[in-house]
Subunit: 183 residues, 4 copies
């Protein structure tokens, strides 16, 4: 069995569409799909979020939890406020919980985005029932392939949780062509 | 010949994508298409603005001018600032001039939107070479019909400019089902 | 004024969706849009014919007549019979008259297709109120541009009918990349 | 574990896109997706066959086999011949093997279609590695749900093959609203 790495915990500065703040451990036992997006990212609006809503409608809530993650790394004045995101989620009728990725004083890339070394938005994360990160894709994913992928993770046998390693938690994204600046 | 009413002048609090502020009189001699939108209006983002960009690309700039009009009547905190709109226009690559519709102290519906008695967004306006308002549609318009409509106005014989009347400039929208509140 | 060439008459071996055989002269005074297609041509099925149906629905029947022209130049056994075309028109709910382009003994390219020197299917023809060919396009045409084009021809001032010339009626298509073989 | 019924064998009058005739037993050990279609069925052409091609491209050929089944139950003169189907498969670039469903002298509904009691076209069949019929859907299926469904069948534990029962093999379709006539 391949060793899977545990998904880094979400580091947030607030949540919308939920009564109380959430943590990945609240979803242990379910597959979790996280859609990392920015409200002014055209690909997120036209493809990523509609796909996340379709996953939310297609799978049983007992099996699959869908979470949005607002990873603002540009246009902070325009899309950085909770009010702006709240208006966006209302108008686009996003029904699932959405976390606001947190910043520290050092830079513009939010902390969860750094922990996952995301290259930009939209990024789709798939986390298994044991809390391991099983898939991370930057950009578009086809519906047919995604449906198969989610079901493959759902049908996985339970496995012991992978051990965290130091390498994984380093911040920063060094890929060439990375859409997120200043990492 | 039907009497056409002159298009009310734009009342703005600024412009983007242009070096200097514009006025409808700057476009006299051309057909003007105005796309009234809000950056957080899903129908504007998925249909209205892409269609306006297609008009911008299809017709000669000497014949047809395309203008955006940001008529914010809700979620003012999220989409009311010039910075927010600027980020939006950048990300969605809107190439034509965009006016920010002005507010007064009395209410939430911006002034140009009131002057045209718009029912909501997206609203498409078509103004002929003489400055008369020839078409105003709230909601979706089919590409084939719009192409025909624009050409019909383009091929119109020049006519004397219509006289303005008091009735036309009254503010407020009283239609049932109007998408704009508090008119 | 540019001299327009008269549209060659349709040479047919039958009609469907009409009580009696038709001729271009039956439509004099109207703009005529002809959609040349083959029932097994994917681009015709997905784009050309749906667009022709939209034109049929959008414009007044007093102004614009839409005609299909079945120009079979390949797969004659599969799509050459009147029964095959009849089944196709029924299943795809094509509402306008459709002519079956005629063959002679010399080759596989049907006669009207030759007279217009069409390069393949779909080909869109636009004929003005006086019977002159105003536009001929092989492949896809955008709805917005087509709407404008049809209206431009509709709004044209009546002009004397152009004189037929010998050059126009020669058969054969010599363009490189021509989709129709053996021309 | 639910008892699954064995998928009835295909009864064919020929095959295309394959060197030799095939049988379901040739695919034992793989999941088989069968797309039952008619070449003049608009929903098959616009949705069913493109989806089958996407499945063909997305999954490993070692895991999933895609087969077309031409179940002609109307317009026999137009779409009943092998030549017509061959031209269609060529033009639409269908890459997987396609079986021609067989007829007997008693009626118009082909024999495999009867054995499966299909209601019309398109019908999608999903058969597991042991040869049991796991899903049968008439009409459209969403890509996301289909991807999940295929993967669920793929990840199934091997199970003993179900016993055939008399009820299942009776011919005819008695559902209200059945698209196939004369069953």
């Amino acid at each position: 069995m391949a060793a899977h790495r545990p998904a880094p915990e979400l580091i947030t500065r607030g949540w919308l569409n939920t009564d109380s703040d959430l943590s990945l451990t609240d979803f242990r036992g379910k597959v979790v799909m996280i859609e990392a997006f920015q409200m002014l990212c055209p690909g997120c609006v036209s493809h990523g979020l509609p796909q996340a809503q379709k996953v939310h409608q297609t799978f049983s809530r007992d099996d699959v939890a869908v979470i949005g993650l607002h990873t603002v790394f540009e246009h902070h004045a325009a899309q950085g406020s909770k009010e702006a995101l709240e208006a966006f989620l209302h108008e686009y009728r996003v029904p699932f919980p959405v976390a606001l990725d947190a910043w520290d004083e050092t830079g513009k890339i939010p902390l969860t985005m750094r922990a996952y070394q995301m290259r930009g938005t939209p990024t789709l994360l798939l986390i298994d029932r044991q809390g391991n990160l099983r898939k991370q894709v930057f950009g578009g994913v086809d519906d047919l392939a995604l449906g198969a992928e989610i079901m493959a993770v759902l049908r996985d046998k339970p496995a012991p949780r992978a051990q965290s390693t130091a390498a994984r938690t380093q911040s920063g994204c060094t890929d060439e062509g990375c859409a997120a600046p200043n990492l």
